[in-house]
């Protein structure tokens, strides 16, 4: 039995329904909500402001600092609030994904803080977080070279599927499940994040990247619409 039909009835390259809202946190300089099916991420941006402690400042450019956090009630088993190994890793990875797009060279010694909170999780939280963060950064008026979109492509058994859910992530029959989160920049189509959990043939990885590019274009259009309609 190979994986021919997706558990929620979607097509192989179909994304979950996306809901976006810009400007959800009034006290922040910029904020956005990005919901992808059952996964809901809220990102708020504070800054640019002076970075303290001083020894962390970069005299050449402004920095970006990401705080990724999953709320205790976001998954069925309550997770311990606060920092965990996983959340620190995702914060760092998100930071690296966002750094190439922001242009903070004119603001040395400053920092832009991005807080990503996952309200509810059903796989693809780091991608939803990056999508929300991109919207929030644009809303906060941070100069950016281009927009950035993220999507989790998966290989379930031998099928390449877009935007996988938790159920698909746990698929164990046949070749099993592989989870490949990736981000694409909107104009240059460069990749700023690519992770892989599982195993995949080199040929199939190229296939997955093509699927990711297509899905990111779709998400980028939704982001554009969300920003333009927020005024």
């Amino acid at each position: 039995m190979s994986y021919t039909k997706r558990s929620d009835g979607r097509k192989m390259d179909e994304l979950r329904p996306i809901i976006t809202k810009v400007g959800v946190v009034p006290s922040a300089d910029g904020s956005a909500m990005f919901a992808q099916g059952d996964t809901i991420a809220i990102a708020s941006v504070h800054g640019p402001r002076i970075l303290n402690p001083r020894h962390q400042q970069d005299p050449g450019r402004g920095l970006i600092r990401v705080h990724y956090n999953m709320l205790p009630f976001s998954v069925s088993d309550r997770i311990r609030p606060g920092l965990s190994r996983r959340s620190q890793e995702i914060s760092k990875v998100t930071e690296w994904a966002l750094t190439p797009v922001v242009m903070l060279d004119d603001l040395p010694g400053t920092v832009v803080d991005v807080h990503i909170n996952i309200q509810q999780a059903n796989a693809g939280t780091r991608c939803a977080g990056i999508n929300a963060a991109a919207l929030a950064l644009a809303h906060a008026g941070i100069p950016m070279k281009e927009m950035i979109s993220a999507v989790a492509i998966g290989k379930i058994d031998d099928k390449i599927v877009a935007d996988i859910t938790k159920e698909e992530e746990d698929y164990e029959e046949g070749e099993g499940a592989t989870d490949i989160p990736m981000t694409f920049l909107s104009n240059s189509e460069e990749i700023s994040l690519l992770q892989l959990d599982g195993k995949i043939q080199l040929k199939r990885l190229k296939e997955a990247l093509e699927a990711g590019k297509k899905a990111c274009k779709e998400i980028n259009k939704i982001q554009e619409k969300a920003l333009k309609e927020s005024i």
């Binding site: 910029g30 002076i50 242009m103 008026g141 941070i142 100069p143 070279k145 281009e146 104009n187 005024i231």
Partner: protein, 247 residues
């Protein structure tokens, strides 16, 4: 004379209409070709001009620029701002002007001679004043209080608005703020950083001015805003007078 005036208004209308139409996002290609110059918040990439900030597109003959709709205040030389004293140092005061960096007010940039030991009697921590930015460097903002209308704020009220809406509140050549000033009998100083100082003889006048500014702030995208504000001022002024009569 009349003809030229009409032309002007038509031009203005066209401008305002196009302003409303195109909202751009970072990375969007807003112009093509070598004969167009990139202005504020745009960069040239090969032959295209790309917006780098979320805002409204402003296209004139050869220059394209983006007017930001949100985000922090970016200090520019010559801006009048309202600042809060953060700290005192040997040479002057450190001032919070809601920009990415703190500003600095040098001791010698005060119009009178001040001894170092008496600095806190002029400006103490938490005091507010109107200053002018005379220099913006890499990571430093210098303020001065030498000039007309600049100096310490002693009474009145301060309100905070989005700094990107300040141009709308001031209006073309100060038309909007003039309207509010005459209607409310208040002195209003609008800081480019989004802080507004209202000073009137009666507290009610000040509150009325605040309401009027909030009305402008909420309706910044509406077309023909000046006329709308005129109507609003008339209506609300009348009602407040009626209340006085009833009393």
């Amino acid at each position: 004379m009349k003809r030229s005036k009409n032309k002007m208004t038509e031009k203005e209308k066209k401008e305002t209409k196009s302003e409303k139409r195109q909202i751009v996002i970072p990375g969007e290609i807003i112009a093509k070709g070598d004969d167009v110059l990139p202005g504020d918040w745009t960069i040239r990439k090969d032959k295209d001009i790309i917006a780098t900030r979320f805002g409204v597109l402003d296209k004139s003959d050869r220059l394209v620029k983006v007017m930001p709709l949100s985000g922090r205040y970016i200090p520019r030389r010559g801006n009048v701002v309202i600042g809060v004293i953060e700290d005192l140092t040997m040479k002057g005061w450190i001032v919070d002007i809601e920009a990415p960096y703190s500003a600095f007010l040098l001791l010698k940039e005060c119009p009178m001679f001040i001894k170092e030991s008496e600095m806190d009697s002029v400006y103490n921590v938490g005091d507010l004043f109107v200053g002018k930015i005379f220099n913006v460097g890499r990571g430093s903002i210098d303020l001065t209080t030498k000039g007309r209308g600049l100096g310490k704020i002693k009474d009145g009220i301060i309100i905070k608005v989005n700094p990107n809406r300040v141009p709308r509140i001031i209006g073309k050549e100060g038309s909007m703020i003039k309207l509010i000033k005459t209607a409310s009998d208040c002195e209003i100083t609008v800081g480019q950083n989004g802080l507004i100082w209202i000073k009137g003889e009666e507290t009610e006048d000040e509150l009325f001015a605040e309401k009027a500014i909030n009305f402008v702030n909420e309706n910044t995208i509406v077309e023909g805003l000046t006329e709308k504000v005129e109507d609003w001022l008339k209506k609300n002024k009348k009602s407040s007078k009626k209340e006085e009569k009833k009393e």
